[in-house]
């Protein structure tokens, strides 16, 4: 399996305060990686480093290319933790927001194929019904789905998502994770997802990455779920995640294995 992401000895500090230290890992094509860890553990910073939004130490490669020379951004879809709500007065329609995910053209013209891609992405995320409405007039949950459509519109091979489900109601959340699961299993899209919602998403995730300033754990769901040593090493937070997986029947060996963990 070719590596979609390779991180080698990546570190980052905010004005001498270390946030991430010596992180190395590889994400293979087709992986669905759930990034978990305590608040302030550096998860969002790691995603920003991978996308070049922050500059740290170490080496990052995307699709085999060093980050500084990487140009094929259409291969990557990104959905941030917060929608750009600060731009409350920006009169732009949901459809125009989705179009922003396509950056091959620079001027104001829109081609037929681009419109087709936009409609396809909005269809997938069930946002076509409010395509013409002003983005900031939508509810936060609707905005988040439009932003997911923007992340999907370039038909990316890698999706990077930072806690995308926090603003969604339970029904939308289930739809959202089912869609991500389908993208991963049917279309082979590699997914890197920060989440605290391991119950719903747990059925699709193939690997877990536990970040708490350092890379504490990175392995398959099975390794994560059934290693007493891992549970002991990672402490209360990981135990909570493992319990969550078991309680929702997302454990790869079935829901009756809770005792093995403890």
């Amino acid at each position: 399996m070719p590596s979609v992401i390779e991180a080698q000895d990546v570190s980052f500090a905010y004005v001498r305060v270390p946030v991430l230290e010596h992180i190395s890992f590889a994400v293979n094509a087709g992986d669905y990686v759930g990034i978990i860890g305590p608040n302030g553990g550096g998860k969002t910073t790691l995603l920003k480093l991978l996308l070049g939004l922050e500059k740290g130490k170490g080496q990052i490669k995307l699709f085999g290319q060093p980050l500084r020379t990487f140009k094929a951004w259409r291969k990557i879809g990104y959905l941030a933790q917060k929608s750009p709500v600060s731009q409350g007065g920006f009169p732009v329609s949901a459809e125009e927001v989705v179009l922003m995910g396509l950056s091959e053209r620079h001027g104001s013209g829109v081609s037929v194929s681009e419109l087709k891609q936009v409609h396809e992405a909005m269809q997938k995320t069930r946002t076509r019904e409010y395509a013409g409405r002003i983005f900031h007039d939508l509810s936060i949950g609707q905005q988040q789905r439009v932003l997911l459509a923007r992340a999907l519109v370039s038909r990316p091979e890698l999706l990077i998502l930072d806690e995308p489900s926090t603003a969604l109601d339970p029904e939308s959340r289930e739809m959202f994770f089912d869609l991500l699961g389908e993208l991963n299993t049917r279309f082979g899209v590699t997914i890197l997802l920060i989440t605290h919602d391991t119950g719903e998403v747990g059925k699709y995730i193939s690997k877990f990455m536990y970040i708490d300033k350092t890379l504490v754990f990175y392995g398959t769901k099975q390794e994560f779920c059934h290693s007493a040593a891992v549970a002991e090493k990672l402490g209360a937070f990981a135990q909570h995640t493992i319990d969550h997986l078991h309680n929702h029947g997302r454990c790869p060996l079935g829901g009756s294995c809770g005792e093995e963990v403890r």
Binding site: L53, W73, Q87, E96, S103, G107
Partner: protein, 273 residues
Amino acid sequence: MITEFLSYGFVQRGLAAGSLVAAACALLGVFLVLKRLSLIGDGMSHVCLTGVAAALLLSANPVYVSVPVVAAASLGIMKLAQKFKIYGDAAIGIVSAAGLSVGLLITALAGGFNTDLLGYLFGSILTVSKDEAVLCGLLLAAVLAGLFFFYRDLTSACFDEPFARTRGIAVQTINTVLVVITSVAVVLAFKVVGIFLISALLIIPPVSALLISRTFKQVLWLAACFGVASVWVGVYLSFVFNIPSGATIILVNLCILALSYGWSKMGGLKNAR
């Protein structure tokens, strides 16, 4: 009376230059307002004083001396905000204070050109030269060309800067070009409304347009129209009532803002589909 008003060559030049620079300022202002950088125009206008004072001291054309001074200051504001991680408005305040102090110092040390300086502080649209009118035309042409060729990049960078960077859009370059072109607009606008009121041309027409528009293209069109209309009405009223043109232009802008606000409360263009 309007025919008589339009028959004067200096009025025609003033209106042409004023319309061109007001449209350019309004279009640039839309991006500055949405990027929460509207006060950068205020900072640049204060730095203008240094350029004008230096030009008067050297007996040079204030426009040509002020452009590099203000452009350097605007880049300084960006560097201060990025490199030293201070807030953008604080960086504007620092550079603005520096520009004003140096300008006042040059004025005090040189002496003798207080009357000339007053003309720049409060604007004198009817003294615009042919060359300056041509420069205003070039400025608007550059702004329109930028909008035409980079519309999607500009809107994307303005709406969600981090996401735009993940699309490979050169956000840093866009920001740099935006503030440099704005600095040129600020310098060309000081003849129209005066150093003290330049920032109003960058802020008020876009805000009026944002209040009532439904689409981003409407915002751009309306902002430019409001800017141009304010120059024509303002200059005409100043001619009729013999009052300062710069201040009148800004008061007309404020009236447009009040009307836009009133209309926005009724739904504005948002209800007119």
